[in-house]
Amino acid sequence: MSNYSEKYEAVVGLEVHAQLLTKSKLFCGDDASFGALPNTHVSPIVLAHPGTLPKLNKDAIALAVRMGLACNCTIERKNYFARKHYFYPDLPKGYQLSQHTTPICVGGFVKIKTAAGERNIQLNRIHMEEDAGKSMHDQDEQYSVVDYNRAGVPLIEIVSEPDLHSGDEAAAYLTEIRKLVRTLNVCDGNMEEGSLRCDANISIRLKGDPKLGTKVEIKNLNSIRFLKKAIDHEVMRMIEMKEKGETILQQTRGFNPDTETTFAIRTKEDADDYRYMADPDLPPFVITDEFIADIQASLPELSEQKKERFMQQYGLPAYDAGLLSEDVELAAYFEDAAKAITAYKQIANWLLGPVKSVLNEEGKEINQLTLTPQQLAAVIQLVEEGKVSHTMAVQKLFPALLQSTNGSSAEQLAQELNLLQERNEDALQQLIEEVLSSMPQKVTEYKKGKKGLLGLFVGEVMKKSKGKADPKLLNQLVTEKLAN
């Protein structure tokens, strides 16, 4: 639903936080992994004990640049971290180290696909910062408790321009971001564990109005579905308010997944003053051309690039190329098979047809399949050469190969299963003779013009051949015979 109303347009910008897949935290050696017992991945540095200092983890910079390059951003060469000051129990130092004011990646865009087509969503920036600890208010009757394991874990914040106009678009955008971070191995993209988190800034305006309306921020949307629902609900809420002549307040809101509605957390009366200051404990760091070139060279092919290449190199239609390139493993399987045979379109058909349905049925990934790309190619080759019919290949040979453990080739197996097609014209001619002579009346009807009977003759011969006749050849021979 991108058209909420004839009158109003929704304007949405997303702030996506992604935890970087580094071994240790952004400014100290503590383990950055998720799921440990509370307060076990902590050191005097993370707990901000007196006298401790930060030291930058270079791996995080490489991951941030990786994401930036994949999103077509400009990489800032001279970088520093600023201190963003506020008091909260889960923020040990009383300030968060952030590049909020000077992001490492500037501009760029992410391509999304919705029912309305493809569109580039403009990014404002991607910057690095450290995560805070986790406050919990439901663990103890009397106290709030804090787990500092997450404090200091490196994040990138991917900030879009207010360039999205619906819950659907926002969902497509976040889906694309998640795919990107996973393909790039920058973040595990796990929204349930909070390694990928999303805040949405939402406003509405009259269509054609260049000015942005009052903004509401919805915090902590932890699934793509909730993101869509929260935006849809919030936009409708705002439109209703406008229509009733009510004033929309600048607010921070939350989303209740049970009622699928949003609720006010706090109303911003004046802007917070975070007193940003360059951190004197961390010298500025410079990103060199070589550093960027190395990362550029190590980038995996992104699905969009792969799709283009599959269309060019293998002549696949956009639809097939798109589906194959979505899944890194499936695309690799395709390319392995394409090394063995040139019937590229047939390989795509097989992968997206019979292979996909087996995977779906068994809940497997392509790399869990015992069938090798070479074996699959051999099956397709048998069909292409007319040695096995397509139907037999799909229904008998393929399942048999999936079960086969003795490593026999596709052709051997086809032989064993008696699936090789009858291409001996003499043998076929004899069968045709037998069938036609047993149905003289039908032959006469055919010759008088009832051409639809051809299928009956062919079917009868096929029965006699026990399904092994090459249907193309058979068709041709029967037609010739009847023409005489």
């Binding site: 005097p44 007196p50 006298g51 200092l53 930058l56 201190r83 000051h85 008091f87 129990p89 010298p283």
Partner: protein, 480 residues
């Protein structure tokens, strides 16, 4: 061996068997007890020091290799972390707190066989120039107990002055090592910013702070510096330059350095007349002794104190945010349930007035609407000073200056006007603003009976030249 002369002489006696670490520790423990009223120490560790002394004595007698500071009895300022020992910045907000890790400086001292005997009183969070702003009460100057020892490393200076230890570690953000050395008649060295790791030093102004050394003589300071200096994986701002053997370099051959001084520093109206004339006489003496001495212009002199206070209070307001009573430190009772009240009560009751004054100043200069007028402007002045410093040291090798405009003043004398106290930092904040090394040597005696020092500075990381000339001056010109 007592009175103590130098680390070198003491260690020779140790190896000759005429004294022992145990004997040294007993002597200093006795001194500490006798001089308790000076209030120079906030914690003493008699049993631990004795045990360590016995261990070191046994180690030396067994012929095992010994460290550079073998048996040296040390005290450390209450802002330097020592694992499992109290660390309070002489503030109520950290009363009872014990560090759970070692600062790099302490770790290096201990690795070289030093014996840490106690922890020095100081101005709260190293903010002050008189050591009157401590939660443990003021420190007294041994020469005149009604007077301040200077600050903020006043306890460290008095510990050395009154023979409560052989050397002490202090910290210097705007003169906190050099000025108390000046008031107490001892040697105080502030190394180049980045020469000594700040890991484990409670931050006041992160881009100004350096651990410094208070000692009886230049040799001892040089030896300790060679131990605590050097790169450190826990401090991103520390230099990776190799560390020279400063003590050995003191007597190495060199040509006479070119000496300079800023005309404006000696013309300054706040400067004590006798300190001025002593400096002018000293400069005349140097010329007479064949030194080339250049008079230099320094028209930014009136900007340095305001610049220093804008930048250090800004950094302090940020650095001290971590003291909130959540994870450690003082919690006001009964504990406030509302979060803002909780922070407010903990910090208002935990921090002393001078610390609160600086936090509020710093918060103000970083606030939206004032940021550019104060913080940004002060940073611009700092850059100008940096450029000027480069020019200065392209003309001269060593810069001379007074340390303080006056000798040690009476306890309570300057408490009514904080700005007056701030302005007295005029000669010491320059080295911290630009990051160069500086030291104070006790060359002079005032007619009021109090000592005062000569401040010397060189370009960044030229401690070798600095210490060598200081050593020469002490040998040649030290009165008495």
């Amino acid at each position: 061996m007592y009175p103590f002369a130098s680390i070198n002489a003491y260690q020779q006696q140790l190896f000759a068997g005429t004294t022992s670490c145990k004997e040294a520790v007993e002597f200093y423990l006795q001194q500490i007890e006798r001089q308790e009223h000076l209030n120079a120490l906030v914690a003493v560790f008699p049993q631990e020091a004795r045990q360590r002394a016995e261990l070191l004595d046994a180690k030396r007698k067994a012929g095992t290799s010994t460290g550079k500071l073998h048996g040296v009895v040390v005290t450390i300022k209450d802002v330097i972390a020592w694992e499992q020992h109290p660390l309070s910045a002489s503030s109520n907000i950290l009363k009872g707190f014990h560090s759970i890790y070692n600062s790099t400086a302490v770790q290096k001292l201990v690795a070289e066989d030093a014996i840490i005997i106690g922890i020095n009183n100081c101005d709260e969070f190293a903010m002050g120039s008189s050591n009157e702003k401590s939660a443990f009460g003021p420190v007294r100057n041994k020469i005149d107990e009604s007077r301040v020892p200077g600050g903020s490393s006043g306890g460290s200076a008095v510990a050395v002055q009154a023979h409560l230890c052989m050397v002490s570690l202090g910290s210097d953000t705007g003169g906190s090592v050099r000025q108390p050395a000046d008031f107490c008649g001892i040697v105080g060295v502030k190394p180049t910013y980045g020469r000594v790791s700040r890991h484990g030093l409670i931050a006041y102004g992160s881009s100004f702070d350096q651990i410094g050394i208070l000692a009886n003589n230049v040799e001892d300071a040089a030896l300790v510096l060679s131990v605590i200096a050097g790169e450190d994986e826990y401090d991103a701002t520390v230099s990776t330059l190799p560390v020279p053997s400063y003590a050995e370099e003191l007597t190495s051959a060199s040509t006479k350095p070119v000496i300079g001084y800023f005309k404006q520093t000696l013309q300054h109206e706040g400067l004590d007349e006798e300190i001025r004339s002593s400096h002018l006489a000293f400069i005349a003496q140097l010329k007479q002794d064949g030194y080339q001495v250049k008079e230099l212009e320094f028209d930014l002199i009136d900007y340095i104190v305001p610049t220093y206070y804008v930048l250090t209070t800004a950094e302090a307001s940020s650095n001290l945010s971590r003291f909130d009573g959540v994870r450690y430190g003082y919690q006001a009772t009964p504990v406030k349930e509302e979060l803002t009240e909780f922070y407010s009560a903990n910090r208002s009751e935990g921090f002393g007035k001078e610390v609160q004054r600086r936090i509020m100043l710093g918060t103000f200069v970083l606030s939206a609407g004032y940021y550019d007028a104060y913080y940004t402007k002060a940073q611009q002045v700092r850059r100008k000073l940096f450029e000027q410093t480069k020019l200065v040291f392209s003309e001269v090798d060593v810069l001379l200056m007074p340390v303080s405009p006056s000798t040690a003043f009476k306890i309570g004398e300057k408490n009514s006007n904080p700005v007056e106290m701030y302005l007295a930092d005029i000669y010491t904040v320059f080295a911290n603003l630009v990051g160069i090394p500086g030291l104070s040597i006790p060359l002079f005696q005032h007619s009021n009976g109090l000592p005062f020092g000569l401040q010397m500075m060189t370009k960044h990381f030229d401690e070798v030249s600095l210490l060598r000339l200081a050593h020469t001056f002490m040998q040649t010109y030290k009165a008495g």
